[in-house]
Symmetry: C2
Subunit: 312 residues, 2 copies
């Protein structure tokens, strides 16, 4: 009989600090860009209109991980979470399971990390203001990451009470919609059913990390506005099929060579921002390598925590 | 906090009888053939030469399932199982997890069921003898399924001790290689690294369920022998990419229209065996819908078992 450690959401948070998650996600982007880590594109299992499931495998650092995770945007109205599921971590040398982790907690940590990593990498070096639009679980994680990186952050949400409660929880500030969308470093973390950024809304020098559009039909930015930006993404294959880029690629106004993967910038294979005046955008769909990175960090702390086990 | 029931291998076996697994797998093939259940092709995560991982999602009967499962053929030499992993069962209306199950136990039940279902569907109605070549976990499951369906079964294995021990455990008979490969209803359940059935080895009227070749480079039958048979498969998309059919399709000697999915036969949309003299073959790669079917049967028994839980 094998005892498999289980990390509930609280255990994930106890094992992986926001700072450590940020570093782990950076290392994952670098390892992926160098070809050391690999990842088949995530598989969507549609259960529309209610939501969808995603099966996200990745391979790296001698391990394989699989995240089985949902997006059911109508769930909160029923008192259920939008994002739920499990991350399974296995030894790549013999296939044996090593840990099971709460997927929502892993997702929040790595999504917040990716949003801020892209903002720091692509924003102006003299960027002052930072804001997060969308104060749900992942939006709060992005705000927490900005703060862990030493920045003040303002929060905006279409629901003022949610914004106030999130700001209170984090010790952050509530912003108006106009103020948030005008921040030097902007993260949008909405359900992606409404375009937040119409044509002409961003000003020269801004950066926006577009985190919400990760499935069919979703968009946070108008195609006309996206093409005004220097476009970056987490992974071309995923972003051109399920991110903001879908709409622009389908309209024939954005091609592969106009989009840079942020990992290529991190390893020095591609340019990031090229001028103070340019607007940079980051289209995030969420990568399984990010989840693998968080799971590996958690595993290293397993012995320090009093974890429940699954007896196989 | 949510309590998620966990079915260890013993709990899966306690919850799902061989007979019930057989019926559930038949129903899954029917539902899939009718388009009621769906399934993206399984995703392979290669960790060769040691083995590989598969992420296998399916959707049906108001649920989604994901199997994360391995094939590491060299593991038994280290005292580790070839096949290991977990099946995650979720509610398709809101994405919430409903159960976690041992993947090896689910795999054995549904693989044994599929092998015998194909043999009964495609073999001659007057078939007398049944044999299983390969007496590992899944081979024993196929033998158990033949027995549950009222047939005597003979077991062959390249390792005589393994054959003897399996036969003893099941109350079955050991066969010579020649006798086994000559059975009216033959199931091959080997690692797929050696061709068991060279050109000319099968005789008129035989049926063979080829269960072992489910990954790159694997084969249990020579292409020359395969084309002597009326070819059936579990799923064209999977079988033509990762089953026995790969070699024949690549050689240009088998095309889509020469291969029938067994589900189409079960629902009456396609012919099965067309004469007593023809040889029928079934190329199985293993379908996620089969795993979903077993998980659903187990769930119905959850309340009758004293199951451990995972506290989310």
């Amino acid at each position: 009989m094998t005892s498999l450690p289980f990390f509930s959401a609280l255990h994930v948070e106890a094992a992986v600090s926001t700072e450590r998650a940020f570093e782990a996600v950076r290392e994952a982007f670098v390892a992926y860009a160098r070809g050391e880590w690999s990842m088949p594109p995530k598989v969507y299992v549609p259960a529309y209109p209610a939501g969808d499931f995603r099966a996200m495998p990745a391979l790296g650092a001698g391990h394989a991980a699989l995240k089985w995770v949902t997006s059911f945007p109508g769930n909160p109205a029923q008192g259920l979470p939008t994002v739920t599921g499990l991350v399974l971590l296995s030894d790549a040398s013999n296939g044996m399971l090593r840990a099971v982790l709460d997927a929502a907690a892993v997702t929040a940590l790595r999504t917040g990390a990716a949003a801020v990593l892209a903002a720091e990498t692509l924003g102006r070096p003299d960027a002052q203001t930072a804001a997060v639009a969308g104060a749900g679980i992942n939006g709060k994680a992005a705000a927490r990451t900005f703060m862990a990186r030493g920045r003040e952050v303002a929060l905006y949400d279409v629901d003022p009470e949610r914004a106030a409660s999130a700001a209170d929880e984090l010790g952050a500030r509530v912003a108006t919609r106009e103020e948030a969308l005008g921040a030097d470093l902007l993260v949008t973390m909405t359900p992606g059913h409404e375009v937040l950024l119409p044509e002409g809304s961003l000003r020269p020098g801004q950066h926006v990390s577009l985190m919400g559009a990760d499935g069919p039909g979703k968009a946070e930015i108008a195609v006309e506005e996206l093409v005004r930006t220097n476009i970056f993404c987490d992974d071309w294959e995923q972003a051109s099929h399920n991110g903001e880029l879908v709409h622009a690629v389908e309209a024939g106004v954005v091609a592969r060579e106009q989009v840079t993967e942020v990992g290529a910038v991190l390893v020095g294979d591609a340019l990031g921002r090229t001028s103070d005046d340019e607007i940079t955008s980051f289209d995030s769909t969420g990568l399984a390598i990010q989840d693998l990175a968080i799971a590996l960090v958690a595993m290293k702390k397993a012995d320090e925590l009093d974890l429940p086990t699954i007896e196989l």
